[in-house]
Amino acid sequence: MQKFYTNINQIVGDVITVDAKNAGNGELAQVFTGRGTSLAQVIRLDGKKVFLQVFAGSRGISTGDKVRFLGHPMRIASGNMLLGRIFNGSGIPLDNGPHLSENLIDIGGPPVNPVKRIIPNKMIRTGIPMIDVFNSLVVSQKLPIFSIAGEPYNELLARIGTQAEVDIIILGGMGLKYDDYLFFRDTLEEHGALSHSIVFMHTAADPVVECLLVPDISLAVAENFALEGKRVLVLLTDMSNFCDALKEIAITMQQIPSNRGYPGDLYSRLAARYEKAVDFDTAGSITILAVTTMPGDDVTHPIPDNTGYITEGQFYLKNGVIEPFGSLSRLKQLVNGKTRDDHRTIMDTMIQLFASYRETQEKQAMGFQMSTWDMKLLKYGKLFEDRMMSLKVNIPLEKALDLGWEILHDCFSPEETGIKKSMVDKYWPKKNETKIFSR
């Protein structure tokens, strides 16, 4: 039944064309070359011509090589035996563990029925004040970290991953440097998180097609765990590499590009992945955090632009800190009313004052004279940057709120902050009390 086809009649980029019968769209095939066997996937059918995207790349494929169709789409093993394991983009183990072929599930499954979703209502604590206090991360949220090359986005991602209160972490790496891969592996191990993590790693040296599979594989496995009631956090880095891989294949397939060479369906492709984030009615959840590096720090570039329209906000990592103004968690309103009653007050007040601080900074830079109020703001801004914004700070939400009051107390009188009297009475630190957070 499993017939070999030998008439490869076109090799363009990583796509080969073979004459074959009875191949299904999206089906998997094996290509036997002199350099070994590679998986390939059917991406277009035209009469008897079958277009295959070869995972290992087309380098070294000869027109006389053999192709065999497997009769099923891309699948991945799933279940608890994956925990603690590391695989590449096609699901081949990169650690020394055994090859897994049990409990196979299809990747890229159908979308969730919207009526089976619930309104997100649970916060994920990360220990990072800029997230917990100002832009709370919510279960089932899909949130990108917009950043630029050179920023510590992988460090931030790893830290959120190891500190977040979730059952399972799935890390999908796309086009990473090999030392980034080692960094993630070691960090997960150091924090004892590897035992409940699964890693799918595509490094920059691997074939580009494998990069395309990483989000699908990661999310298919995540979905399987979520259906069993687990809270899953999926970390994807770097989605820009995924988009560039899409672009490469689209150009190879001679699709008409829409914007800066990216295919017209970039939005749909990204949405199909990001929308896997879900809080199931009567089952678990998937939360997605994805790094998107912005070429040239340009938020209007097609990748961050399309991403922003899909995701529920973004963390904007710039100059080593989560920038309070570009960042937004659209779902924070759903959870920050239920944490502590001063949460929203601290969030709004501190950001408003920080905005005034930025204005004052500008004035200062232009050489205008500083008033008493300006001096207060400058002091406040400095404290805010050092003790709240810095990514070195690692404290629970309640401590961070206390710290917020502390900082406000150090710089202003209660009236100057514009905080409601009832809140001031309840939380404003009393004079002469020893500072909880003295440096």
Binding site: N22, N25, P111, P114, V115, G264, S268, E275
Partner: protein, 578 residues
């Protein structure tokens, strides 16, 4: 019955399938791909020689060359009848709750269910008697659906004059039982049911005439109603970058708009936002009817991860349902979020068809498609003299927030009101983030023309002064200019901005808008004299503070009167000092 006409698949590319056929086929005909035990719905979008190119409304994984396709001879249609209010459909009018019951968490491919219940019986009351002359769209009788009389009408597809042969007495009927029979001049008998089918891409035109939309549609959003109004039967668009609050604006409109029925087309956007509407609307009471908001709402939901071709059809499904309720003499508001995703679906299909691309790879027919969609809006006088309307409001998600892109530009050509959202306004937390300096509307506001012009004027002046101040600083600005600037800021803060989290401030009635606008107009016209800029600033800060409290006070409540008096006293004191 003749055997269905069939074809075979010769090419598969993404969600486009090419089929060879030997019997006649029709453009936009629906066909089913027979794959194992699945039947996948698709639509013919181009015919060349003996090859038909079809867009498939499902994922195409696993399809093979040579598989059979069955043509149905019908255009893509929806079933129109009682039972749509409160329902949530996908882009092909499958009720999603029913699919969830059948398939669980996921949208299984190839599962189609009846749009309306076969078994639910409706209380029918006849309105005609045998011998009456009727034609398409005339009311035969009605059933009660939620809050409305849902009229049973002569099918829109019947041409010419008919005579009622028989009509059932009042009683309970399902949509599958005929409630009347009518005959055409050739004595052919046509049964009339509570429901009927209509092809989505063809407008329903059974009305006497289309009228000029001039009655305002009150959205209870001050910035819109007072400065950039929308008319019943009109069209408007809301373009804006991501994060500017398009969807929140649409949600607020769907809650407060003064219309009978709201059809929401969630087209290619986030599932989470639909879920919010879905789960909260049954719990919110509509102040006009005291019934849950869901009773007047139909949701057509094709979120971004659902198949792209169905996204294209979802806006047509939505507008057809809207037109159907209009035929009953109701006022319907269609909110499409977002039309850019719909345009992108067209672009994807156009790319697969290898058509010569226009700007940014959008197809050349983009503009005409957008125009014909918005042209389905309108206020009409029906054959029986009553009026009904469909108002269309579409959001646009321009790439990079740049309005110079094809979808925004094509939309601006055909709509009569433009509510442009600005990123800088939303960054400054000024909601709604509609930029009053770039937006426009061709409809008439219920605010007095002179007062409205003053409102626009002060905003322009305020902007000019603020730009100048950036260069010369506060100290280089004259006191009178500075006061104009403060007036503009005051107007913006207390009138244009609205707090969506405040139970009172989130919706302002027409009467209140007229009253408060008049009040503010007099403040804007007043000649205040200040000794310096600091006193001016302080004055406006203080009055702004009191005004905010006024905005949160219920209309004509004791608190409202009290705060108003407080403001008047405050103003009087100021003029004495001056």
């Amino acid at each position: 019955m003749t055997a269905p006409r069939k074809g075979t698949i010769t090419k598969i590319s993404g969600n486009m399938v090419t089929v060879s056929f030997d019997s006649p086929v029709m453009q936009n005909e629906v066909a089913y791909i027979l794959h194992a035990d699945e039947r996948l719905k698709s639509e013919i979008i181009r015919v060349r020689g003996n090859l038909a190119e079809m867009q498939v409304y499902e994922a195409t994984g696993g399809l093979k060359i040579g598989e059979e396709v069955e043509f149905t001879g019908e255009l893509l249609s929806v079933e129109l009848g009682p039972g749509m209010l409160g329902q949530i459909f996908d882009g092909l009018q499958n009720p999603l709750p029913e699919i969830a019951r059948q398939c669980g968490f996921f949208l299984k491919r190839g599962v189609y269910t009846k749009a309306l219940s076969d078994t639910e019986a409706w209380d029918f009351t006849p309105l005609v008697k045998p011998g009456d002359r009727v034609h398409a769209g005339d009311k035969i009788g009605f059933v009660v659906e939620k809050i409305f009389k849902h009229y049973c009408m002569v099918p829109f597809s019947l041409r010419g004059n008919f005579e009622v042969v028989s009509v059932e007495n009042a009683g309970k009927f399902t949509i599958r039982e005929a409630v009347a029979e009518i005959k055409d001049p050739n004595q052919k008998i046509h049964p009339v049911y509570l429901s009927q089918n209509w092809p989505v891409k063809i407008p329903i035109k059974e009305y006497a005439e289309k009228l000029k939309p001039d009655e305002p549609l009150v959205t209870k959003m001050r910035l819109i109603d007072s400065l950039f109004p929308v008319a019943r039967g009109g069209t408007y668009c809301i373009p804006g970058p991501f994060g500017a609050g398009k969807t929140v604006l649409q949600q607020l409109t769907s809650r407060h708009a003064d219309v009978d029925v709201v059809v929401i087309a969630a087209c290619g956007e986030r599932a989470g936002e639909v879920v919010e509407t879905l789960k909260t609307f049954p719990a919110i009471l509509d102040p006009r009817t005291n019934r849950p908001l869901s009773d007047r709402t139909v949701i057509i939901c094709n979120t971004s991860s659902m198949p792209v071709a169905a996204r294209e059809s979802s806006v047509y499904t939505a507008v057809t349902i809207a037109e159907y309720y209009r035929q009953m003499g109701l006022h319907v508001l269609l909110l499409a979020d977002s039309t850019s995703r719909w345009a992108q679906a067209m672009r994807e299909m156009s790319g697969r068809l290898e058509e010569i691309p226009g700007e940014e790879a959008f197809p050349a027919y983009l503009e005409s498609r957008i125009a014909s969609f918005y042209e389905r809006a309108g206020v009409v006088r029906l054959n029986d003299g009553s009026t009904g309307s469909v108002t269309i409001g579409g959001t646009v998600s321009p790439a990079g927030g740049n309005f110079e892109e094809p979808v925004t530009q094509a939309t601006l050509k055909v709509v009569s009101a433009f509510h442009g959202l600005s990123g800088s306004r939303s960054d400054a937390r000024r909601y709604p983030a509609i930029d009053p300096l770039i937006s426009w509307s061709k409809y008439k506001s219920f605010i007095d023309g002179k007062q409205k012009e003053r409102g626009h004027g002060i905003l322009r002046k305020g902007y000019d002064v603020s730009q100048m101040m950036k260069v010369v600083g506060e100290e280089g600005t004259s006191l009178s200019d500075y006061v104009e600037y403060l007036k503009a800021e005051f107007f913006d803060f207390v009138y244009l901005q609205q707090n969506a989290f405040d139970a009172v401030d989130e919706a302002t009635s027409k009467e209140r808008q007229i009253y408060v606008f008049d009040f503010i107009y007099h403040i804007l016209e007043s000649d205040f004299t200040f000794k310096d800029k600091d006193t001016a600033l302080l004055f406006f800060q203080q009055i702004r503070q009191i005004f905010k409290g006024w905005n949160s006070a219920p209309w004509k409540s004791e608190e409202f009167e009290k705060t108003e008096k407080e403001i008047r006293v405050f103003l009087l004191e100021r003029s004495k000092k001056g």
